[in-house]
Symmetry: C2
Subunit: 458 residues, 2 copies
């Protein structure tokens, strides 16, 4: 492993499920791996909503990538934003604090994932943050708990309309993330916070779950869609379907119903869980090999996950398009393992010829504590049993024994009890970003951050 | 408790040890309590250094104040920055998002604490953040772990001088906070991170612990001072005493030694644990009653913790001066309980006449895992036994059973094992604040925050 002769160089872009599992799958390969990522952590995205709603801490769902890979000698982890890939010269350029560095590769695995998409309305992002990063989750945490703080003051002052708008939450997008977020907002309002205030009753909060399509959990079986919708409504969530968001601002949003009529909801806190857009690297690669990305910006890959004419370039996970595979962790994990296997076989002189085949382990989503839905092939499970399944599967995929133990503990505290251990809002959020909530103030991202007040200020 | 007749109004300013324990001590009093604080949480300041070094999450040392007091019906918690107190009209003005609200009180307990002081050099604050808030701890966490990330890149590029400056840490102030911070930086460098990098060896990091005075832990017995100093040096910390910081910038700091000679240290990461300045409310109150604050901005109180001529106004904790009492949690806790007792006795028509008496339960500081020093009256304890004492005492004062359990678990992971569960750096820090580290860039706080990059940016 430590020979000084140059070993084949594998560059992996991204530290999500695709990137991390690709690196791990190459653990025993005689290669030099460079894993380049924009963040220092491996983020377990499916649990972001629990960070946003105060159940988990960022560390529990985002261990440091280099800690996870510390004992894998053939990999070096590097913090950098990959701005360019050149498949002809076989180089990758990564930038960190404006310093660009260019590396050559023999094999490339691109697993840069997808970001939130506001469907061409990036101006919505300030008012309805996405759910894709730790930053997003902490931003939303500050807004959610901050909204209750301000509602308490508004109600005490007799500004009841303001208090109402502050305790109205809209989740845009009724996929698994949206459903889980809305469910947790309901739990929070109706259970966790019920004794915490004196002038408002958090149980009177309004939570909307909205989708432009006609169903919740569109990717699941219809029977589960209906069950989930009923369960959400029972939790006190207002489900609005066939509702297309046409405008979002600091004070609320407007949507168009099926009949083309426009309605407005006054809601200070909005969560955008609607669309995704593949990493811009997808388009960059597509241009170089003369193919087109799809509507979500994903690059079509060949059945062995490579690019046409470039058997050494693999694209895996959320940023590729193949056979309508969904943007879920399992696809990224299985694809990264397949890519690793191809590389190892290629190095061993015995190429793998069978195409990538996805083994669908099923889909699941939690609705509330003790309640989930799961779809495994033709089997459909709902309620407590599905929730236990969810619990088990998520514990398995949380990296590291210690995080598993503390996460289980937090869940016990939050689900059996009523606590939320991680309700902390930073002062920056209180005195800076929460200024967003001011009626007369609709600042952009930069202005929002300028509100920072130092400790020693009176 | 719920009579509609107006009950005596008690306003408490601050949610630290003084404010929270005052509210709790009045739990069964027939009063209306309004607790106003700038943050939404009760911060356990003595463990901030563990948040900064990735052992604990913010939630574990900062539970929501209103959650702690949820079931105490006679108290309402309010988020606000108290900008004015008028002891003549008996009113307090609090501001939240520019909306001022003025409240009358019958009794006032001011427990607004102290902020970091850079001894008249506030321009140092950008480059050497303090250790007083969750924001401070998260800022330092980002800088510490970020520095290692950048050092790895610098070393890979052959910029060894840069890598050296990035892995040099200076802690200014050798009180308990400074000692604990330096000790944890040593643990982090020499133990936690030792397998995580490929181009640097974190064990070669340099950690300075610096003080203008001639001893570490100046407030402790001399034998313990010497022991602590030796223990720090054994951990690999360079202790610089009689060293007065004269300049701090993004790249390092300059200090004057005893002989008046100036030296410079190249160190990207500096921590300021040196001085404190009482809340500006102390001066405001002092002006109104015609007394002077001391050098640290603290207001001298009478022996019953009230202001001259105002038996209804108590000042407790870090912002008052009385009998040279130290700025520690125990003083704030005991004083707030005394103030509550006085108020209850006053309401009952049987005034308390004996002055406040401080019962010194002792002092302690951790040096490294398994090692602490403690001073309880004339008894001095060091090593593992003192560390067990430290463990017990801190667990008792951490609020809430659940946080005790998870904290104990984190400690097991970090001290028995090598993990740091909370190493997460936000993207804002990576792409915004970490820009601080650029040699050619010495921005102020605002500029630093402007560096924010959105997810969807390529």
């Amino acid at each position: 492993m430590n020979s000084t002769a140059q070993r084949p160089r594998v560059i992996i872009i991204g530290s999500g499920f695709g990137g991390l599992f690709a690196a791990r799958a190459l653990a025993r390969a005689d290669v030099d791996i460079r894993l380049i990522a924009r963040t220092t952590t491996h983020l377990f995205q499916p649990l972001l909503y629990q960070v946003a709603t105060g159940i988990l801490s960022p560390g529990e769902i985002a261990p440091a990538t280099r800690e996870v890979l510390a004992h894998q000698d053939n990999v070096q982890v590097e913090l950098g934003d990959v701005t360019a890939v050149d498949v002809t010269s076989k180089t990758v350029t990564a930038t960190t604090l404006d310093v660009p560095r260019t590396y050559s590769y023999d094999y490339l695995i691109v697993a840069a994932g997808a970001a939130q998409s506001w469907f061409g309305h990036d101006e919505f992002a300030d008012f309805a943050p996405g759910m894709k990063s730790i930053d997003d989750a902490l931003e939303l945490r500050g807004r959610i708990f901050g909204a209750f703080e301000l509602a308490e003051l508004a109600a005490a002052d007799g500004r009841h309309e303001e208090a109402k708008a502050l305790t109205t939450f809209v989740v845009v997008g009724a996929g698994p993330t949206g459903v889980e977020m809305a469910g947790q907002l309901a739990e929070l309002s109706h259970r966790t916070l019920k004794h915490d205030f004196r002038h408002i009753d958090p149980r009177n909060s309004t939570i909307y779950l909205m989708d432009a399509a006609g169903a919740v959990l569109g990717s699941f079986d219809e029977s589960l869609q209906a069950k989930t919708r009923r369960a959400m409504e029972k939790l006190g969530v207002d489900v609005l379907l066939n509702a297309k968001v046409v405008d979002v601002d600091a004070r609320g949003l407007a949507y168009q119903d099926e009949a083309g009529e426009t309605h407005r909801i006054q809601a200070l806190t909005k969560v955008w869980a609607a669309g995704v857009a593949a990493s811009p690297l997808a388009r960059q690669l597509a241009d170089q090999v003369g193919i087109e990305v799809d509507r979500a910006g994903r690059i079509p890959v060949q059945d062995d996950l490579t690019l046409p004419g470039h058997p050494e370039v693999f694209v895996v996970g959320d940023m590729m398009a193949l056979d309508n595979l969904p943007g879920v962790a399992q696809v990224a994990i299985q694809q990264s393992r397949y890519a690793a296997k191809k590389i190892k076989a290629d190095l061993g002189g015995k190429p793998v010829t069978e195409p990538f085949a996805y083994f669908d382990k099923g889909n699941m989503a939690t609705i509330s504590r003790f309640r989930a839905i799961a779809e495994i092939g033709k089997i459909k499970v709902t309620g407590f049993v599905a929730w236990l399944l969810w619990l088990g599967v998520h514990l398995v995929y949380i990296i590291g024994f210690k995080s598993r133990v503390t996460t289980l503990l937090r869940w016990a505290v939050s689900f059996l009890g009523r606590g939320r251990a991680e309700r902390n809002i930073t002062e920056q959020q209180v005195f800076g970003r929460m200024a967003m909530h001011r009626a007369d103030n609709l600042p952009g991202r930069a202005a929002r951050n300028l509100g920072w007040k130092s400790d020693d200020q009176d």
